[in-house]
Symmetry: C2
DNA sequence: TCCATAATTCCAGATATATCGAAATATATG
DNA sequence: CATATATTTCGATATATCTGGAATTATGGA
């Protein structure tokens, strides 16, 4: 992932409503949730949420597919992984904070 | 790391000059760089950079210590690690994308 | 076709962020 | 103390982001 791209992804998550929406979608993988359902759960007006979901989609963190009258949103786990990889490589690239990375791994893989 | 805190860290990195400054500091661990040196390397006015460094410090991504007339900035690698841990746990918490995490680990630990 | 539901787009106002010149503060040296 | 260097703070402007009401588009059912 390029730096410019990473910044877009970082910015898209650096907003409370979008962070909540993304986490909600992560929790509902792989079925996804409709835009309306997300709006109801987060208590956010549909049009406001729509704008936020658009930002997440532009950043590649979500995908949207229409199903009948609803639009189902899903989280792109691979995109989140790509971001953490970018951050970790940015950290460790050519330097060596393997110990830190090992901590992440042990915490994650348990 | 709490969500609110993570958002602050994400926002602090979601800006080109700050991302550049942070990466520069990561590359210069553990010696650090003076504010002026960073400003020169990034070709940014000292006062503008100062504002950015302040944002990074508020987010806990950098520390500053005065040495004579200069102020030396250092990257907080542990803070970056805390962020990736937050993101990874947000991803894997109770769901299971161990495979993805393993990829990060293998790429990082090689 | 007419109506109801779901979502988005349009638009405007409010808030936040970024930028940088000028002035202020801190430190060292002659 | 006077001066030079390093950095930050102040203040003003420009730009971007967030928010939500109103209108628009898309789909399905009577």
């Amino acid at each position: 992932m390029e730096t410019e791209e990473a910044i877009t992804v970082l910015a898209s998550l650096a907003q409370p409503t979008r962070m909540q929406a993304f986490r909600l979608l992560i929790q509902h993988e792989p079925e996804g949730l409709t835009a309306g359902e997300i709006a109801r759960r987060l208590v956010v007006p549909p049009n406001t949420l729509s704008a936020h979901l658009n930002v997440l989609s532009q950043a590649g963190l979500t995908t949207a597919t229409r199903k009948s009258r609803s639009v189902i949103y899903r989280a792109s786990v691979s995109r989140l992984t790509a971001l953490t990889t970018f951050l970790t490589q940015d950290c460790c690239g050519g330097r060596g904070c393997e110990a830190q990375a090992a901590i992440i791994c042990s915490e994650t893989l348990t």
